[in-house]
Symmetry: C2
Subunit: 325 residues, 2 copies
């Protein structure tokens, strides 16, 4: 089986590539070729015996998408995109990469006339306030960012290209990925990860919002699991509504901190310092607190069972089991 991963140099892209290499197969077929593309050159995943092609390319640039699908990969994980903050500050780039890049890929698939499985990573940013306490699967698409708009448009395209028989798509709306490995970034959502990651690494973390703020999280490991599981779903299982909100752990910041205390002790949890930030508070107030994700759960998508498990996954996957005391 030949698999194409776009956005392969990103955090999820690298973890997905590593998982595919580790599994060695997908949907019961041996993986013998990986095509990894990104705007920066992706790394070769360790320990893969098959062929790996790298392509540092921007899907929205002329010919790039046609080249990427020329050898007709059976499964395409389309993760490429610019993040929420960049799509908001650079309007043209956001539309070019997130919308035109995706549409160009879909058009390349349509005109090449093969019918790959396409797993598209969408986001809960397709939803915008006002929200009910828990967002149902059939809730209106009312994004309040350009990023969310681009994701919602790509979901609609994916559904239409699937309905028309040009590809076999499934869109998965990821909740906030927590704990993100690496350095703190300036994303407004960054603190959800940093209040766990930094204390576990022996560093202080700043908490800009109240303990009562509720949000939905899934680990990077769970996100990769969603992608792999999505690739195995059939049209019959999905029906006509192929874009799905993924499950996650809905909890308050206070509950995140209590989980950290249970897993790592008081000393670690004490490394969180309250530093209220009105801008972050205002942004976060517009985000979804909870999603039903009933359809996804019924289709077998599995998130962690508790925020404790999310922390434990981070300690296992990123810290080799070690907590800084």
């Amino acid at each position: 089986m030949h698999i194409l991963v776009t956005g392969a140099a990103g955090m999820i892209g690298r973890k997905l590539s590593a998982r595919l290499v580790k599994d060695g197969h997908l949907n019961g077929h041996k993986i013998d070729r990986l095509t990894l593309i990104d705007v920066i050159a992706p790394e070769k995943p360790a320990g893969f015996a098959g062929t790996v092609d790298f392509s540092p390319s921007d899907l929205s640039s002329p010919g790039a998408a046609a080249k990427a699908v020329a050898d007709r990969p059976e499964v395409i994980f389309h993760l490429a995109g610019v993040v929420s903050g960049e799509a908001e500050t650079d309007f043209e780039k956001g539309y070019r990469v997130n919308l035109d890049g995706t549409r160009t890929l879909f058009e390349a698939i349509r005109t090449a006339d093969f019918k790959p499985k396409v797993v598209f990573t969408s986001s809960i940013a397709v939803f915008g306030t006002p929200f009910p306490p828990s967002i149902p699967d059939d809730f209106h698409l009312t994004p309040l960012t350009s990023y969310g708009t681009q994701k919602a448009i790509c979901e609609l395209l994916l559904a239409d290209y699937t309905r028309r028989g040009f590809l076999d798509g499934v869109g998965i709306r990821l909740p906030t990925i927590c704990v993100r490995p690496g350095k703190p970034n300036k994303a407004a959502s960054g603190f959800f990860s940093s209040i766990i990651r930094e204390p576990l690494a022996g560093q202080e973390a700043l908490l800009p919002v109240a303990d009562t703020v509720r949000h939905t999280h899934a680990s990077p490991r769970a996100a990769v699991g969603f992608l792999v599981h999505a690739a195995g779903l059939t049209r019959q299982q999905l029906g006509t509504r192929i874009n799905l909100s993924m499950p996650g752990i809905s909890c308050t910041v206070g509950e995140q901190i209590e989980a950290l205390r249970r897993v790592a002790g008081n000393k670690v949890a004490a490394r969180i310092r309250r530093a209220p930030d009105e801008l972050v508070q205002r942004i976060v107030a517009g985000w979804a607190e909870q999603l039903d994700a009933k359809r996804a759960r019924n289709l077998g998508f599995k998130a962690e069972a508790s925020f404790d498990d999310i922390i434990l996954a981070h300690i296992e996957d990123e810290l080799e089991g070690k907590i800084a005391n």
Copy 2:
């Protein structure tokens, strides 16, 4: 005030232009210029003292949109598009005209850096089955046609361009327009109009579905009223959710026929002949039966009060008050 109408040669475009000329003003401002564009040359509306520019052009062709907005019309009614059937049979044309044409128009507005009011005609085709008995304003966008997909994407673009301050948009989802004047066409929805229009004109009409089929209708006159009313709404009134399902009369085909009998008598109603058509039945089964349209009603959009009124509007507007006996 300078007003641009795209799709000005279409049925609604012509009726809107005539209404604007008759009113002579919009939102309290005298209309002194109309720019009418369409792929075929629009007719000059009778009795207009101001300047009328005609432009037979396709908005998706290079430079056409920039030219259309070069003189900065204060209000733009964007009606242009290919219809549902054509968007389904010609995939590329549907996306080119309905999506690229709209996006090119919005981009021309953004880069010209003025902030017109943009009234966009969307459709209830943005919704797809399975439906609740009455579709709420916050129902999921799950179109099941390429046309509905293109309309839903344009709604999302309109909302994002509005949120970013590039234009001041409002999208109105029209129910089925009934009674459409003119000859019978091959649209699957055509019979909703022809079972009224043909009998009133002394001709036989074929009814391909059961009397129990329920659907939502508004007259061409009401549709034009929605457009004019939408142009007068402020950002404050609309809030962030600027795309609105329009009200209409939800009734069964049997109720349509009873209304025809009340308005025009038994002899006219007897001109409807049952001719079941499985294909039409199957298509219509996927359509919305009823929409709440609560937000639109609260914002002052007015449809007819009964299907009788829809028939009376047709007799008045198209038949000079005369029914064929």
